[in-house]
Amino acid sequence: MTASFFARHPSVLWFLLCLSLFTILVTLLSEATGVGLISTSFVKTLGKTLCLCLVAIAMDVVWGYCGILSLGHFAFFGIGGYAIGMWLMYARTELIVVESLSKQVIPPTPAEISDAIGNQIFGVVGSAEFPWIWGFADSLFLQLLMVVLVPGLLAMVFGWLAFRSRVTGVYLSILTQAMTLALALYLFQNDSGLRGNNGLSGLQNIPGYQDVSQATVSIIFFIASAVALGAGYVFFAWIVSGKMGSVVKGIRDNEARVRFLGYHVESYKLFIFTVTAVVAGIAGALYYPQAGIINPGEIAPIASIYLAVWVAIGGRGRLYGAVIGAAFVSLLSSWFTGGGAPDINLGFYVIQWTDWWLVLLGLSFVAVTLFFPKGIGGLFDYLVRKPS
């Protein structure tokens, strides 16, 4: 990746510029590092939004560029969250347990410590045993590895099976939904080893940094999310440019023709599917420490459908479109459902936005699909004439 890459893709530079300015602005206005105009909870909302933008550009690459309408990428996002959440929860519980046991006269044995941690974490699901999947939970490094490995491997196996059998179009979408549903249902079970519908909680507390305020933690995660989004953007912009981009877009527009040119289409799809799943996992690993909690509901099939809706509203096939769509719709969504929007009293009926937001979102989606297939990002075409 060289200077000429940026010269040929000025929109990447523009994006990085806007993202940097935004990050600096929020940092200067935050409670921890600035004048305190932006509350800590809003910093977390913005940080989470950046993570959603990251998973949205992954979705745009797999759908908007490669034509694979995956309705399962939010599952990879959730897996990333669970992977980091396991370490956060384990390490923090360990600290608490060790501290409380150290007050005993007789020093605790390692087995006692382990039992106590197990009790703390799995008591809610009536168990104290450590399930095998927690085998690496004491190692931050290994759990970080899981953040990329588990979504990557799952995507690779799933993709290999699906693409090899040439499952395409709506059938593939249904298959990805089935995968997501199966995963969510599995996680909902108490004996899944991941605390059933309780999920993992207390993730905002970073083990070993109890004395650091949440205001500071929030701004660190915000900046980390911004860096990840910037890096992800450049990475994907690189992938979808040049010859790889040509082939990938070719597969989207006419996959049979690409085959007759001698390209093994399935390998390309598998590559794109897996790489985007890994990035989705990383985005999730940054998101859930800011959210503080993850439960199986997050992985519900509808979440992956929302992801597709954001990308469609923002504009498919352009990375900044996905960013705009994810940021715009998710912020608007928390405004409407969080009671930010005033209810409208029609006299005979009161429109409560907490209920009606979904209807509004659905209608906007239909309207965009029918009348503005290029989405919000399409507006930029009027501003900039693209040199070919």
Binding site: K249, R257, R259, G262, Y263
Partner: protein, 249 residues
């Protein structure tokens, strides 16, 4: 001379309908061949079989010096073996530029990693420009392929075929939608290409076939009806019958 492609005893049935019926046909390493025949004769289906799109019920398709069977290979493997195809309905990547279309077709490594790390080189650029020159699209390299005229799209697809540097070119109705001058130019391109490889052209337009000035194979109901020079086959009474539609009378 050993054959480049040997198709023998191939039969294809679609829901009980025999589109290809015990077809045998061979091609030499360097030759220009025209295939003619009425609508539904099985010309396109023949190309589908050779390129791996359709698997025959019976028969063999043997390729190249190593005499490998194409029937066990996927479409992309067959293409990498050196068989290129132009479709009846022009299919170029309309959302991309002429240059990008040609670059994608250019004979370079096809694996995802090689493609990801692909660097533009002077020699590849020169090859693209040479092909563009040949198909008369030198001034249109930066245009979006979707904006081209029908005839230009046909040429672009022929150009993609040339860029692939195949040993066998299967060209399905290249002259459709072309002006007479464009047709003339197309025959020149095909004749030139056939000097170093096998080129098989399916065409309805007899003037076009005459200008190709090559061996002609007449297909009818999925089998070879006649073979030889154009004058030879067109004076064949059964061929005349077929073309005048009296075969079923």
């Amino acid at each position: 001379m050993s054959m480049l492609l040997e198709v023998s005893g191939v039969t294809v049935t679609f829901d009980g309908f025999r589109a290809i019926n015990n077809l045998s046909i061979n091609f030499a390493p360097t030759e220009l061949r025209a295939i003619i025949g009425p609508n539904g004769a099985g010309k396109t289906t023949f190309m589908d079989i050779v390129t791996g799109k359709t698997k025959p019920d019976e028969g063999t398709v043997i390729w190249g010096d190593r005499n490998i069977s194409l029937l066990g290979l996927s479409e992309s493997q067959i293409a990498r073996e050196g068989i290129g195809r132009k479709f009846q309905k022009p299919t170029v990547f309309e959302a991309q530029t002429v240059r990008q279309n040609l670059a994608m077709a250019l004979k370079t490594p096809r694996g995802p990693f090689a493609v990801l790390m692909h660097k533009k080189t002077k020699s590849n650029g020169a090859r693209i420009e040479a092909v563009a020159e040949q198909i008369g699209l030198s001034d249109s390299l930066t245009r979006i392929a979707g904006e081209l005229s029908h005839g230009q799209k046909q040429w672009l697809e022929i150009g993609m075929l040339l860029a692939q540097e195949p040993r066998l070119m299967l060209v399905d109705e290249p002259a459709a939608g072309m002006t007479p001058e464009e047709r003339e130019k197309t025959t020149d391109i095909l004749k030139e290409a056939a000097k170093t490889r096998a080129v098989v052209v399916v065409e309805h337009d007899m003037e076009f076939v005459r200008r190709l000035d090559c061996k002609v194979t007449v297909l009818h109901e999925g089998a070879v009806l006649a073979e030889g020079s154009l004058d030879h086959v067109t004076s064949n009474p059964t061929v005349i019958d077929v073309y005048l539609g009296r075969a079923h009378a």
